[in-house]
Every structure is written in C-alpha cells, then in structure tokens.
C-alpha cells in the first residue's frame, strides 16, 4: 500500500463503558479515495470523529504526515487541513454563502473591526467556481437545494485548504444529477492531490469511487486493501461477519386482484399531475423516482397531510373526501414517513408509547376515558416482539436510545398495531444497516402475505426490484411508466425516471 497521510495507531475509544473502537490501526492513503464501510455502530463515525477533532481517543494516537496529531476541537482539525462533511450539513440558512464559509474567521478591514466584504466575496467566488456552483456569494443558503448546500460545505473545506476531506453519507439527500456532480468533484479533488475518506452504505458508490476500501465491524478493522480485492458481496460478508446468501427474502405469496387503494387523477399544481393507479390486496407496489420526482409528495397527499386540487382516492372501495391523517388512519391507511426523527417518532418518549400512538383511540371508549392499559401494553409488547425490536425496556426507555434499524422497526410497529389495509412506506431502509434492511424487507413481505397492500417508495432501485411485485416510475410529478415484475430491467426503469430531461 502507498504512503499514508494520516495513521491511526491502535486507537481505542469507549462511551459509557462500551468499547466502540477496540484498538484500530489504519492508514489513510495520500492522494486517494478511501472507502470506509461497516454496519451502523461499527465505529466508522467515531473513528472519523477522532480525526475531525470531535472526540479524543482514550488510547493510541494519530499521526498526520508522520507527526503526532491530537486535535481538541473541530477547529484544530480544520487548522490541520482536515475537513469533515457531515451527513447533516452544518450551515446557517439565514446567512449568505460567503458568510458561511468565513463564519469562524472573518477577514476584517484594516482600520475597522468590520467585515471585509469585498475580500470575502472575491475569495468565495473563487471557491464556488472550483466546486462548479454558479451562484452569487451573497445568496442566502436557505435558497439553495440540498445538493447545492453540500457544494458550499466543500467550498468551505477548500477555503482552509483541506488536504483530507471526510464525506459521511453525502448522497442521502441528493438528486441523481447532484450525486453525479459530487462524484466528479471528488474525483477532481483527488487528482488535485487531496485525500478523501468516503463513508457510505451505498456499496456500488463505494466501489465506483474508492481506490482502497476498509471494512469495520464491531469496533475492529476486519479488512483493508485495494478496491480490486473487494466485491460487493465480500464487503457485505465482512460487514456482517457472515456470508449473506440473499439480500432480499423470497416472496411466499402472490398479490390478489382485489383493489385496496384506488387513486384517480390526483393533481396539485406544481407538485403532482394526474396520478392514477390501483394497489391490490397483498401487493407490494414500488414507487421509484429520483430526488425531486414527487414520490414523497405524492405519499403525503395520499395520506391527507398535504392538499390536492383534483382527483379521487378510494380505500377498500370507499371514497373519502377532505382527507386528513386521522381520516386516512380510520380508513385503514398507514404511513411510514421518510424522516423518522422529524415525523416518525417522539424521540424522548418511551418506546411503548411511541408504538401505541396511532392505535391509541382503539383502547379507550372515548378520548377522556381510561385506556385499557393491560390490552394496550400487551398488544404493544406483542407487535414489538413480532418485529424483534431489540435494545430496551419498552415502557421505560426513550425511543432515541434505540439503534437506527430498531427505531425504524418501532415506526413500522406503531402502524402495524392498527392493522392497516394499506401501508405507505417511504424510504424505510435509509440509514439502516444491512442486517436490519433484510429484516425490514421480511416484515413488508409478511404484511403483503397477510393481505396488506404496500406502497413501497424508494430511491434505491435495487431494493425495489428485489422486493416489489410491480413498480411505478415517477418523474416531474407524473407517473412515467409502470413495470410488472417480469419487466424489471434496470436500464429501462432508469430511462423512465430521467424522462423529464427529454421534455
């Protein structure tokens, strides 16, 4: 292997007595892209946090260019030329791009303690050009798309001349085109001599970008080598510690022809147009679309969270007007939203109460009469057990203490408790590790086998192809094509998803 710009030398780190990093030694290669993979909780983020000055190692040390490196704050790391681009971007939406870039060290005028705006503007312009973002430095960040904001973060890294740039799951909120642009940029940064650490769950992306790959499992480095030594299957096997024969559980049931959700000509100006489809009992219907295709917005409209101007929705044959979340639930619908922190869970509240929230009114005669607690908690415990939610005492522990996968299962559980006829599920595997993904697919399969109609929305084409009976492809707020399982073909589906460009 080539020479290292940064070396981890037997670093260890514990939190609350739990050893998260168990003595890792790893070389970050100079001028290359290192792909870092591992399940959630494997220690990737902790390792990078040591590098980025967020935490300090308990034991062991880091060497930067051969010299000891011990940052105490993120600013120390920045000063040493290390930039950390977090999954959740660290920008101030009420400030301009230039102000964001210089927030921790504004250039000042020579005679007054005031900002040197012209200097800021000129330099920012230069960095923005380097990341190919062609907007004014004075643009407020709130006006930018997620992809553009990420470019601002990278521009910021350029501003302090970062030699190592860490990307943590950078593509989760990017459109396909923005992702492509990001990859080109990463490749250019590398050819300019920067060293990159790229963390992602999306293994094909890692295969495409990385020169070297390192796999972490349970706080230990289990493999590190040139990309050529890895395949996606081998990475997965290394991550989970055993060979996974299958990524997707086999379907054991077939969809029926009884409609449970009929959508007719749903339209809302600027959002979706003339959406018509039918979901059947026991069917898993995929909705594929790129970021900004209107897939999540459609789900919100179907569930009654956002308004629509025209069209009709029927659940189990019955039409319902003036939709609201409560009406949708009463009609038999369930909706696992794409962002479980913001809309799926009450993070500080006990797991059991989270699971009970939707079905709650069924356990009492009226809103101001006592809840039948025995039945309530028994059924919650049952559904939690059936989904194998692990990691805590249901009635005592706050849901935020669970791992990402178990949190997602808790969200699903709260809807299953209500025994829905229709389940709309939006990006259920985002930020969830490989093992938990398989479990979530199994849950969806079982539901369909029990007769629930599932509308499975995702931006990961592979999982839809692995799980669904049929697939709708959306772009520009319209359904562009429908494919049945025997017609699933990656290229054709993608072509439909990119159709807006043709227009």
């Amino acid at each position: 292997m080539s020479d290292a710009i940064l070396t981890f030398d037997h670093v260890e780190k514990s939190f609350f007595g739990v050893r998260v990093l168990k003595g890792i030694s790893l070389d970050v290669p100079r001028g290359k892209v290192l792909g870092l993979v591992g399940e959630n909780g494997a220690g990737k983020s902790t390792l990078m946090n040591l590098m980025g000055g967020v935490h300090a190692p308990d034991r062991g040390q880091m060497l930067l260019n051969g010299a000891p490196y011990a940052p105490r704050t993120p600013s120390d790391a920045n000063a040493a030329g290390i930039a950390f681009i977090h999954q959740e971007l660290n920008l101030f939406t009420n400030l301009s791009i230039a102000e964001n870039i210089f927030i921790d060290g504004f250039p000042r005028l020579r005679w007054l303690p005031m900002l040197d705006r012209s200097h800021m503007r000129a330099r920012t312009k230069q960095y923005l050009e380097a990341v190919e973002l062609h907007v004014s430095p004075d643009t407020l960040v709130e006006k930018l798309s997620p992809g553009e904001r990420q470019l601002v973060e990278i521009a910021k890294a350029l501003s302090f001349d970062a030699r190592i740039i860490i990307f943590d799951e950078p593509t989760t909120s990017l459109t396909a085109r923005e992702t492509e642009r990001l990859f080109r940029l990463i490749e250019r940064l590398r050819s300019d001599g920067a060293s990159i650490v790229y963390i992602s769950h999306i293994l094909p992306d890692v295969m495409r970008l990385a020169d070297e790959i390192a796999v972490l499992r349970d706080g230990e480095l289990v493999a590190h080598g040139d990309k050529e030594a890895f395949t996606i299957n081998r990475m997965i096997a290394l991550m989970v510690g055993r060979a996974i024969e299958q990524l997707y559980p086999p379907r054991r049931s077939a969809p029926t022809t009884t409609p449970v959700l009929e959508v007719q000509d749903i339209s809302q100006q600027g959002i979706v147009e003339a959406i018509t489809f039918t979901l059947h009992k026991g069917e898993i219907l995929g909705v594929f679309g790129l970021m900004g295709s209107g897939r999540s917005e459609l789900a919100r409209i179907l569930f009654g969270l956002d308004e629509h101007a025209r069209g009709e929705i029927r659940v189990a044959g019955k039409p319902y007007t003036r939709p609201s979340a409560r009406r949708s639930i009463d009609a038999g619908m369930a909706f696992v939203t794409e962002n479980r922190r913001e809309e799926g869970l009450l993070m500080d509240i006990a797991i059991a109460e989270n699971i009970g929230l939707v079905a709650l009114p069924r356990y009492a005669a009226a809103t101001v009469t006592a809840v039948n607690e025995r039945r309530y908690f028994t059924e919650i415990t049952d559904v939690a057990a059936s989904l194998a939610i692990k990691g805590g005492e249901l009635r005592q522990q706050a849901v935020k203490t669970l791992s990402g996968g178990n949190q997602q299962k808790a969200v699903i559980a709260k809807w299953l408790l209500d025994k829905p006829a229709v389940l709309i599920i939006d990006e259920p595997t985002r930020g969830v590790d490989v093992g938990a993904k398989y479990e979530i697919y199994s849950i969806i399969n079982d539901l369909a086998a029990a007769g629930t109609g599932v509308l499975f929305i995702s931006s990961e084409l592979e999982e839809l192809m692995g799980v669904c009976d049929r697939m709708l492809v959306m772009s520009n707020g319209e359904i562009q094509a429908t494919f049945s399982r025997d017609e699933f073909e990656k290229e054709r589906i993608l072509r439909a998803a990119f159709r807006e460009n043709a227009a």
């Binding site: 569930f303 709650l360 009226a366």
Partner: protein, 370 residues
Amino acid sequence: MMEAEVKEPNRAVTRSQLVATSSARGTVRRVLRKLLLSEYFVLYLSIVYFLALWPFIPRIASPQNLGNIFSNMWPLLAIAIGQTFVLIIAGIDLSQPSIMALVSVIGAALMTSQLDPVLFEKSPLWGIVFTEAGGPLAGAFLAAPVAIMVMLLVGALIGWFNGTAVARLKMPPFMVTLVGMMFFSALAIYLVKSENIIHLPESYVLLGQGQIAFIPYSFFIVGALAIAAQWLLSRTVLGRWFYAVGANVRTATVSGVPVTRVIVTAYILSGVFAAIGAVFYSARLAAGRPTLGATLLLDVVGATVIGGTSLFGGKGKIMWTVFGVLFFVLLDNSLNLLNLSYFWVQIVKGSVILLAAALDVARTRLLARG
C-alpha cells in the same frame, strides 16, 4: 482502571486503599445521586429546607403556621395545574393572572348585593349589569354557584381564544398570552374603574374561608382536581396526546393526533384552572379585585417549572407541580416569618429560583449520563 496491570506491590497497596475510601465515598455519592434523580427531589428539597430553618425559626413548625402553609397551597396549585397542561404541550400561558383578575371582577359584579355609586357610577357596567342594589344575582338563592359557573366559562372562553390563536393562526404562544395578559388585565380594570367589588354572598366567601376539621375546603376541591388532572394525563387518550403534541407536533400530526383540538383543550384547561384559582383567592378576600393575581405569574410558572415540568414540552406531571407549589409556598411562608423587608424577600426568592434551576440542570446532566 480494572484492566490496568499493577506491577509494583506498593502501588497495589495505595490502590486498595483508594478502592476502600472510594467505596465509602461511593455509597454517599450513590445515595446523593438517588436523591437528586428521584421524582420526589423537589419534595425532599422542601423538607430539607423546612428542617434547616426549624432551629432558626421555631415558629415555622407551629400548628397554626403549618395550617397556613397547607391552606395557602391549594389555590396556587389550581392555577399551576392549568399551567402544567400548557407547558406539556410546549406552550406557555402568561395570561393566567389576567384571567383571574377578569373573572373575579365578573363573578363579583354578578353576585354583589350593594355598590357604592360614588365609586362605580363611571363603570361601563353601571346600569347595565349592576346598580346600587348590586348585580343581577344579588340575593338570589343560587347566586354563588351560578356566578362561579360564569367565571369558569369566561376562563374557558379566554383559554379557547388563546388556544385558537396558537393552534389555528400559528401565533407564538409567548406573544399571544403576553398580549392577552395586557388586554384582559386592562379590561378588568376598565370594567370596574380600578375599584374592588365587595358585599359578596356569604356562601361564596365561605368557599375561601370555610374549613372542615381545620382543613380548608380548597384542599378537598383542588386535591380532587389534581387527582383528576393526573388521571387525565397518565391514563386517558387525551393525556397521552398532550405529551405527544409537546414532544413533536409533526410526528403527532402524522400519527393522527388531532393536534389543533389538543392544543386548544390545553389552553381551555389553563383558563378554567386559572378561574378556579380566582374563585378561591377572591372568596378569601371576599372581593372581586381587578388586580387579583397580578403578582402570581412568577410563582405559577416558577413552581411548575421547578417541579420538573419542561418549558420545551413533552414532559411534566401534576405530582411534580404539587411539589413545586409546596416549595414556593414554603419559601414565601418562611420569608414572611423571618420578617424580612420586601427587598430581602425578593432577593432570596430570586436566588432560590436560580439555585433550584441550577440543581435541576445538575439532575438533567446526571440523568443524561445514565
């Protein structure tokens, strides 16, 4: 520390000593920790405070004084229960004292049996609601119950107004209830032109002053209400919805919780409980007073928050509020007994609020550490 290898014997000795002392210290620390993290922390704090003062002011433990503390608690608790509901849904109700003032004036205007024309002739209610011969209910058999119903209704109405402004019009609760405070207290003063209304029916006054076996009526009524409120919060659907809305409105919305209704209900309860408090305070004064409760805002919000209910929503219990109110009443009482000047009372009170808040911060940090 367990894994560290000990090679030199003399070091091993020091280490075992260390372990010995640290285990003794450990027990103390564990007990302290347990106390600090207990739900009953504020109760313990009150007891410690009481015991600490006892040697210095023996009078604090006299039966008469204990009776005072006891009877002072309940009217304040009624108001604080209302505030607890609103804080749980991540709101705040600064208008409670003004609700008290307004309903006390309205209730008294209905019930009074005699008014001095010199004082009230200029009131906008003169000749319409009341005259020299008192209000419309003057002397009526059910004057007090009817007037109380009207008072609660007005409290509910103002609560409904606050709740609607917050939930439907999406106005920030702090500003809505702040302006509400300005408006309704000014309205109370305007209605009676700053004068107190006296000559209230005996049955009404009895409500504030009557006792059964030395226990004030307010204890039975507010005690029952507190139990009902706690039951509502912990046992019913609505109660769980309160916490859900306070913890995360968006999740609650998606989960089918009728968020608007829940928020409006919380503010209505706050208004009604403020009115209940007003009944007791004005009955005790035997008067409707347009500045009733003006100094209580601090006590109500302070007692509720120090009890442990979070200003950020999603967390709170009536029992905590009971302890918080006990603490505040005890504090007030002790400062009175010490016969301190007003400014010392203020200084001590402010410092104690800060101290209690600092202790709460320490608790939260300990809890976070698990």
